[in-house]
């Protein structure tokens, strides 16, 4: 695909949270029903400027994540379009009952943005890691779950979500991610995976910031004459079953990569579809079932085998080379 950023793309300095904040500010200037809610998290969410420019459209609740989500649900039930931004580790755990009952079950149009997700806060320990959020959120009926691959996708996703009247949990990381796309010039549709690279030997399915790793791994595999398909599963729920089964049928082997526990996340979702419809080998790469070691995100990724070298080795083993 022409708009996929190949290896060696310029290092991006803009974090997804920054992009999201800018898009929301632009849209909120035109629509006073768009509100952002923070739990003493406007700095972490890059929303300080939003708060300065549109003080009537930012609602601060203090460090109180249950109240954060409850208030958002009440606002949504009264015709507002609330976007909640709070660290994913707290938002997806402390307020999960409010997410389940007040948002998903009551079907209130709340957008939950889990910031600093995964192991963004690598050195801060398990309390600040969110490696179970996909598992919990995707098990809640009526809640969609999404992860943008890079800043371009983050922009397209937020623009789409403003017009999307359903509860959504969206997770992003803290730091800038290397681009997976060169521009916003591609079709983004909620619930439809993007084929980032074609190939029929094996498929790598990734979501969020691991899409870049999937692309780099696929490029490395090409050197070994292995044609690897890369699917960007930006919507974890509703899952694009069709794209997954097509990959299972056409490539016969699947690797999933996620910044999440290997229990219950993207890999599990893919395996659920594949095992029940077209069983093929699926290798799930992610964080193991243990408190993750401390370190910079890149160091922790490396330690747990979320590296081009490891993905490549596993892929080669799976294709028998």
């Amino acid at each position: 695909m022409s708009n996929v950023a190949l290896k060696g793309a310029k290092r991006n300095k803009i974090a997804n949270r920054q992009v999201i904040s800018e898009v929301l500010l632009d849209l909120a200037k035109e629509n006073k029903d768009i509100l952002v809610l923070t739990s003493d998290s406007r700095g972490s969410a890059s929303l300080a400027n939003f708060g300065k420019e549109l003080p009537d459209q930012i609602v601060e609740v203090g460090i109180a994540e249950q109240n954060l989500v409850g208030v958002a649900a009440g606002l949504a039930a009264s015709g507002k379009k609330p976007f909640v931004a709070s660290p994913a580790c707290f938002l997806s755990m402390r307020s999960i009952e409010q997410i389940k009952v007040d948002v998903a079950y009551s079907n209130t149009n709340v957008k939950l943005i889990g910031i600093s997700g995964g192991i963004s806060y690598g050195a801060l320990g398990m309390s600040h890691h969110s490696l179970q959020d996909l598992a919990v959120t995707r098990a809640i009926p009526g809640l969609d779950v999404m992860m943008p691959a890079d800043r371009h996708e983050a922009k397209k996703m937020i623009e789409a979500l403003v017009e999307y009247n359903r509860p959504v949990y969206l997770r992003i990381g803290r730091n800038p991610v290397e681009d997976s796309y060169v521009s916003e010039d591609y079709e983004f549709q909620i619930g439809k995976a993007v084929t980032m690279m074609p190939g029929n030997d094996i498929t790598i399915i990734a979501a969020g910031e691991t899409v870049r790793l999937a692309l780099d791994s696929a490029i490395a595999l090409k050197m070994e004459c292995i044609n690897c398909r890369v699917l960007n599963m930006h919507t974890i729920k509703p899952l694009d079953n069709e794209a997954i089964l097509k990959a299972a049928r056409e490539t016969g082997k699947i690797i999933t990569i996620e910044e999440h526990s290997v229990y219950g996340g993207l890999g599990s979702a893919v395996a659920e579809v594949v095992s029940q419809n077209h069983p093929v080998p699926v290798k799930i790469l992610g964080l193991p079932d243990e408190p993750a070691v401390a370190g910079k995100t890149a160091e922790v990724f490396e330690y747990y085998g979320l590296s081009v070298k490891n993905v490549k080795d596993i892929a080669m083993q799976m294709v028998g080379k």
């Binding site: 006073k32 609740v61 249950q66 409850g70 009440g74 039930a77 009551s106």
Partner: protein, 277 residues
């Protein structure tokens, strides 16, 4: 022509009979709490709140959020009586595939939010009251909480926010019947000095006999009393109110009356109704 207070008293008694019938026929329900909150709901729905059963989503309606979701039977009986849905449907309470489940459910016209998990109603109501302020709308938000529910931390998160945002359009009522499933609230997790706690959180606090229609009418007509402050009404009630042998007995939290108990209770309520008529 009977006056309004008499009408409300009769209505409350009729609602008690209706809810008892629902619980008896379904074989399940939260009898004690529904009986304790009946007078509060009756005054809200037949005297205070601006709602339109023919247009349940009317933009300027007053909002009601029942945070103590389990005491739902009086709520269903009132919504049906008001014409939000056919009275016939009350027979389906807690039956297979009904929408009249054991907690408020927003598939039912007139219900704003799904509740049932305790401690959720106040934060939701804060959001609704904040939306009214932002839109310059005059509607009010009423929320009913239980006293046992006050141990939930999220109640106090909502309490702080309501005062911070000066939500004088928010009126929270606590059905202070003093009992929760295990026993007295003061034994399980003491609340007193209860009013002082809320005052310290920046609320205007009013105590009332929550089973006294005149007092409820008087207090609710007079709120909000203070501009810029949310109102808390501590409604001192009797769990199981109206049925002599259920009053103040903790097991009636979700005790379903036997045939004998049911008949005796209905006889008592009929007598109360006769006196009022």
């Amino acid at each position: 022509m009977m006056n309004n207070i008499e009408f409300l008293k009769q209505k409350a008694t009729e609602i008690r009979m209706e809810l008892l019938k629902m619980i008896y026929e379904a074989g399940t329900g939260h009898t004690g709490g529904s009986l304790s909150n009946t007078d509060i709901l009756t005054v809200l729905y037949y005297h205070i709140m601006k709602v339109d059963p023919n247009n349940p989503k009317w933009e300027d309606r007053d909002r009601y959020v029942q945070s103590k979701g389990h005491a739902v039977e009086s709520y269903w009986a009132i919504l049906a009586d008001k014409g939000f849905f056919p009275k016939e449907e009350l027979k389906t309470f807690s039956q297979f595939n009904t929408r009249l489940i054991g907690h408020p459910n927003n598939k039912v016209p007139g219900v704003e939010m799904n509740t049932g998990a305790l401690g959720h109603g106040l934060p939701i109501s804060v959001g609704m009251a904040l939306a009214a302020k932002k839109d310059g709308k005059p509607y009010r938000v009423y929320t009913l909480m239980g006293d046992g529910e006050q141990a939930e931390g999220s109640v106090w998160e909502g309490a702080m926010a309501a005062a911070h945002y000066k939500l004088d359009n928010l009126i929270a009522i606590i059905d202070r019947n003093g009992l929760q499933i295990t026993g007295s609230t003061e034994d399980v997790m003491s609340l007193e000095p209860f009013g002082e706690k809320w005052r310290a959180f920046g609320w205007e606090v009013i105590e009332v006999d929550g089973n006294n229609i005149e007092q409820l009418v008087h207090v609710l007509e007079g709120t909000p009393k203070v501009v810029g402050k949310p109102t808390l009404i501590i409604a001192n009630t009797v769990k199981g109110k109206g049925i002599s042998f259920a009053e103040n007995v903790a097991k009636w939290h979700h005790h379903v009356p036997s045939k004998e108990e049911y008949e005796l209770a209905m006889k008592e309520l009929s007598k109360q109704l006769e006196v009022l008529q």
